[in-house]
């Protein structure tokens, strides 16, 4: 608790209504090839935003632009209201008060855990007490005299987090922090990290290519592809109201269908669907239906191809008029080969003019 209070900076520039980080129309790249194009994003104070996208989409470049590790070509980056990168401005990384946790931990191999954490506290008056606070926060007290080479992957990442948090950065950047860990540890550590971030109340950006991770850790999620920041929103927003069919597909399983507009609804092979799209009758429209928005009853129009049983629910693959569809349900039970009819059970589906 005490940590959270101390982390707040009562200075004018840090007042609550100024976003922790403002990214405005930033383009960046290496050797003239833009890796990041026209990205705009505000990170509110105390908020955690996940940046989600396939590898090479520019999410790490965006993170490095904030940290000052990459020079941007155009646009501005501001931290606590102060421009740190922009036309004619490039504040050195060490003067940005930004913390960063790298994929590989990047712990200094010749320094102990404690020395690693103290590294950023050289100029802090209360370095020692800050050290014990952070060790306690990350439950690393027992390991403080160990060398990084003797720690497990998960422990190393906790040290990296502790080290990054120690100097009370204005913003914390995490670049694929869990990707080097195995699956079980990964889920556990990401919960721990989320709790720590919330406890400290720090503004943070987490880069990941894993949708579960992005949704679990981020208050908001930004989806990126090919250098563009396509959509930023709460996990529910992204899932229910994706900005593009690509986003829809990237944040979860999506059945994509094409139909015709008719009286504000779309006529598809599985029936009429409600959409919130203002398009003239007869125009061709793409819709995305989540597997859980479909239900099955015994019938004749479709065939069950296969079944994956998860306990709490099950996923079926259905062929309907030569279109393959995924259906997720916990209520019905069918065997592969059975003939069924499909029923739309969701609300409004996202739609785009094709």
């Amino acid at each position: 608790m005490s940590l959270r209070r101390r982390s707040q900076r009562p200075t004018g520039a840090d007042s609550l209504d100024v976003p922790a980080v403002q990214i405005d129309a930033v383009t960046a790249g290496y050797g003239g090839l833009p890796v990041l194009t026209d990205a705009t994003l505000d990170l509110q104070r105390g908020e955690t935003v996940s940046l989600l996208g396939p590898s090479g989409c520019g999410k790490t470049t965006l993170l490095r632009s904030i940290a000052g590790l990459t020079q941007i070509a155009s646009g501005t980056v501001s931290i606590s209201g102060k421009v740190v990168s922009g036309p004619g401005v490039h504040l050195a990384p060490e003067r940005r008060h930004v913390g960063m946790v790298f994929q590989d931990g990047a712990l200094f191999p010749h320094l102990t855990v404690q020395e690693n954490i103290l590294f950023g506290l050289r100029h802090h008056e209360s370095g020692e007490s800050r050290l014990s606070d952070v060790l306690e926060l990350t439950a690393l007290g027992d390991l403080k005299d160990r060398l990084p080479g003797t720690l497990s992957g998960g422990q190393q990442q906790r040290v990296a987090l502790a080290r990054a948090l120690a100097p009370r950065p204005r913003v914390l950047l995490l670049d694929e922090p869990f990707s080097a860990l195995d699956a079980g540890l990964r889920v556990q550590l990401r919960r721990e990290v989320r709790d720590i971030l919330h406890e400290v109340g720090i503004s943070s950006i987490v880069v990941t290519h894993d949708q579960d991770e992005a949704f679990a850790i981020g208050d908001r999620v930004g989806v990126m592809n090919k250098g563009h920041l396509l959509q930023v929103g709460s996990p529910a927003d992204l899932y229910e109201r994706p900005a593009t069919p690509w986003v829809a597909g990237f944040v979860g399983e999506a059945n994509e269908l094409v139909g015709q507009m008719s009286n504000g609804r779309v006529m598809t092979p599985i029936g009429e669907l409600p959409v919130s799209l203002d398009a003239p009758d007869g125009s061709s429209v793409r819709v995305v239906i989540r597997p859980e928005q479909l239900a099955m009853v015994s019938g004749n129009s479709s065939v069950v191809n296969s079944l994956e049983y998860f306990g709490h629910d099950a996923r079926y693959e259905i062929t309907h008029e030569s279109v393959k569809l995924g259906v997720r349900t916990s209520t019905a039970h069918f065997e592969p080969g059975e003939r069924v009819d499909l029923k739309f059970v969701g609300g409004i589906v996202p739609a785009w003019i094709a």
Binding site: R64, A67, L69, T70, Q71, H90, A92, P93, E94, R95, R96, H97, V98, G99, M100, F102, Q103, D104, A106, F108, P109, H110, F119, G120, R122, H123, L147, G149, A160, R163, A164, P167
Partner: protein, 521 residues
Amino acid sequence: MTGQPAPLVTHKRLDLYSVALGVVFALPGIFVVVRAAQLSGDIGETLSESVGPLGRTILLASSVAATAAVLGTALAWMVTRTDLPAARTWKIVLVLPLVLPSFVGAAAFLASLAPGGLLHGLLGLIGIDSPRARGFWPSWALLTMFTYPYVLLPVSARLETLRPTLEESARLLGSSAGHTFRRVTLPQLRSSILASSLLVFLYAVSEFGAVQLLGYDTLTRVIFATRLADRGTSFTSATLLVVLALIVVAAERRARGGDRVDDRARSRSTQLVHLGTKTPMALAFVGSVAFFGFVGPIVSLIIWATRGVLDNRINFAALVGPAVNTAYTGVVTSVLAVIMVLPLAVLLVRHRSRTGKAASIAVVGGFAVPGLVIAISLVFWTLNTPLLSRLYQTWPVLILAYVIHFGSQALGAAEGSVRAVPTTLRESSQLLEPSLLRRILRVDFPLMRSGLASGGGLVLLSTLKELPATLLLAPIGFSTLATEIWGSYEDGFYAEVGVSALFLVALSTLLTWLLVLRRAT
């Protein structure tokens, strides 16, 4: 074959190989000690004559090693970690002081400080009269200029394999570029710097021509001056030198013991430090090093060469044969040296074997033995080894002499390269690819390339200019650019010295670029 693929090369076999390698590299040292004992030189008398020169040798060699370490590391950092303009060109130019044989490099340097020389003119412009280059300080400065590339090459290679996230983390934790370098980068470079300044130390210990030209009296002078008149003293002094080398090498090995070096492969190129307004200062620094170490002497060579070319006295065609000999001999030696020391490097890094350590002391210590002594010792060993005696004064024995003399330069880099292959990566590749050879070629080699190229590059440059062993052990009639330069220099045919030396510089530059720098990146 069932189950896990058995490793084809076991620890034990590597140990055996290393013992053999260590013995081969120790041959000159053994010869020196045996001869000293046979000739029963008066140790007391030798010591009384040698104690002054020995002290001066130690003083000079340690000073040169220290400054070469600082200069080489600073330059390595600038060409690999900053946005210094034309960094690639500097990388080649800054290595070039290594290409001239020290006797001709020193003579050309002195000529450039004399009236009519480039440095004399430039210093004159800013109102400085060229200093009289005699004694300790000039010897120290000149040897530093000749030897800092021994540090520059391996340290650059190490910097290039270092994970950039370490330095980035430090910067983000509020460290300036300087503090980051001291606290994070330097500890990672420590073993590279130690190993390479050790080479510099040993080079300075065995140096004769340049130091003698500058009138600074060291132990090698005693060895050379007494070689005919008083062989007992000559060999006893050489023994002193060998003992000094072994002590220093062993101490370095010990100091290196506790190193904690990051061995993870890097995944991405590093963001360069932005020099900004400091760019002119950085260029002035790098430029003046290049000027004193290379451009000044080169201009002297050009002045000499021009006189001969104008008089139409130079037979360029006569240099083609020696140039070709120089090139392939150098390339073969450097490749062979790297291949020969690599197993030892594996043993040292992965198995931390005691045998390996002992062998490595022999390999590295051999570098302190002056070339002439190595050559004479190989005359002895070749003629007194039954099968080998048939190969006396043939090309393979010459190559062997080169490898023994310069193999140490490849060892440090080879160790660094082996370290650059992460254990996990090796284990996983072992499961995927049972053939050791293919594993080495497809997994290990690409990761080790940069380090091996830098080690091979040092061997290459040393071999290209080697003189005493070439004169004594080469097949009769086999000449290299270095022997041509020597032949002309010996009797004051400076125009020929200039032309041949420029040929050597051009050849070295070309080979360094083709085989070392281009492959390393």
